[in-house]
Each structure stands twice: as C-alpha cells, then as structure tokens.
Point group: C2
Chain length 191, copies 2
Amino acid sequence: MAGREGPRPGGRSARVQASVHGAVQALMTRMERAEITIPMIAVEAGVTPSTIYRRWGDIQELLADVAVERLKPDMQPVDTGNGGKDLLAWAEQYAEEMSSKPGREMIRDVLAAQDGSGAYQCCNFTKQQIEVIAARAADRGEAFPEVDAVMDRVVSPIMYRILFGEAPDTAHVARLVSGAMGLVSKAPASV
Amino acid sequence: MAGREGPRPGGRSARVQASVHGAVQALMTRMERAEITIPMIAVEAGVTPSTIYRRWGDIQELLADVAVERLKPDMQPVDTGNGGKDLLAWAEQYAEEMSSKPGREMIRDVLAAQDGSGAYQCCNFTKQQIEVIAARAADRGEAFPEVDAVMDRVVSPIMYRILFGEAPDTAHVARLVSGAMGLVSKAPASV
C-alpha cells in the first residue's frame, strides 16, 4: 500500500493521501462510518473515485490506512525519571485511549482490512514507545525487561481485554506492569 | 441477538437459525465472503431476506454469529494427567487453530460486528476450557494458576501476536505456559 509506506512529503502522491485522509475524517464527524462510500470520499477530497480505488482497492483498506495514521503516537512516553513509572504511566494512557470509542473504532478498522500490514504497523508503533522507555531506563543504569516481554505481559492482556471483554481497570494495569517489572527485580513484584 | 442467546432446540426459530447458518457456510465454500449478500443467503436458506434483516440486522452481525458458533469448542481439553501439560497441549492447539486462515477469518468476523457480545462469548468459551483444565488439576491436588492469570499470561499474548504480528511459534507458547505455571511453583519456571 503506497499510503502506508509513506509517500515523499509534499509530492503529488502525499497531497492526494492527505486530502483523502482528511476527507474520511471530515465525513466521520458528520455520519456513521457504515454510510460512508468511496464516491462520497472522492467528492469531499476533490479527486476521482478511480484514484481512490487504484490506490486503496476498497473502503476497508482505506479506513484501515486512516486508522493506522491516527494511531501513530503523537508524543514520546512521559519521562518520570524511572523506567517502571514510565511504563505504568504509558500503559495507563494506552489502556484508556484504546478502550475509548474512537480507539475501539480505529482498532476495528485496522483489523477489518484483509491486508494485515496495518495491524503489524500498529504493533510496531507500540513497540517503539516501549523501546523509548527501555532506552531511557538503560541510560539511567536501571534494569528493564525485554521489549518483547513487555509486549506479552503488559500490552497483550490490555488489548485482549479491550477486544474480547472489558477494558482492564487501573489496578489491573498496575498489576500487569509490576509483574513485568518483577522479571528484572530480585525482590518480589509489589502490587 | 436471538441467535446468540440460543433459541429453543427444535423450535421454529432454531430451524431458521440452523438453515441460515448452514447457508452462510455453504456460500463461504463457493465464494469470497466479501461477495456474499443477504439476498443470496436468503435464497440458499429458503427464507425471505426480511427474516434475516429482522433477526440479525446486517451481514456483519450474521457473519459474527456464524463465527461464534464455529468457534465454540467441540471437545474437552486433552487430559494428559497433569495440569501444566494439559495447558501446554491446549495452548499449542489454540495457537494453531486461531492462526489458521479459517481461524483468522472467524476472529475477524467476530471483531467486525458492532455488537461486542460475540467477542465476549468467544472469550468465555476460552475461559471455560481453562476452567476444565484447572478443575482437573484441583481434583488431582495439583497447584494451578488462577484462570484470569492464564488469560493474561497465555491466551492474551497468543491472540495479540496472531492479530497484530506473527503467530507465536511452539517454543514461545511453551515459554508462556511455563511462565504461567511458574506463578504457583516454588521452583523457578523452566523454559
């Protein structure tokens, strides 16, 4: 998908993408996503429907592309001066954002696309945030678990519960984080 | 959703449901799911389209209902004589089935429905399987982790990786299981 690989900034392709993404987001504020069609998006974006079909194939892929773009983190994880606290602050915010109505809709759009590259990219955004926290912890000389272990122990249970049950409460998120941090501490994990 | 609450077996409602579910599954073997429409399903099932619209609302809800039905486990977890081994055998099979093409399609159908009750029911099917393993372990006098902890430590990472990345390999599944079992053993978890 050209859109996902990121077109050259400022080029014609980038302008088309920005315009189509903007059109989708504008339409979403005015109507239910199930009512939105590619011809409507084309009118709103000022491009031909065939431009959209050529580039995205179908509306599911386009919605997934827009959702991936919106799921891209727009800030670095908060720096609290301690790796475990950074991870807790990040995980609380992640659980809150992903379980919100727009968060759930974005995840659903990403997972509905046949092409799994959007879901893969979302997972990478999350990994990058954990890597930032891990690198800061390393700079401070603190022990911090492997990024992969944090994905399994903190990120996965939060996402599973949001998708298949009820969003985890803050006490649950705190237990997940302290469990992951317990991997690198000699002392038993505190709750 | 009447279909999900399970109509009285043998009643008219149950016969309609069975016929419509059968029609969806038959059509899925002959064409891409994206091509399947409610009028087609109605013809195949020998009911009117309005029967389907009245009962399921839209095709997403119907596909989710069919997927939930197919995701219902058709066997008890294998009894190996040991809780940890039961869990390992179950987790390996779960990872394999859910990461298969039909498994992924069923999960996608369940998650695509606006109504989240199908996803909730799938999570319950999984919990029930773990509960069977936990109850057998208790009968044998073995220590076994809380079902909720198994959901967080074993089920969630498997599902997260299937949805957002690559399916976990058997070594990874084994590490997840031994990590969860380590919660109740004094000895360090073996990998």
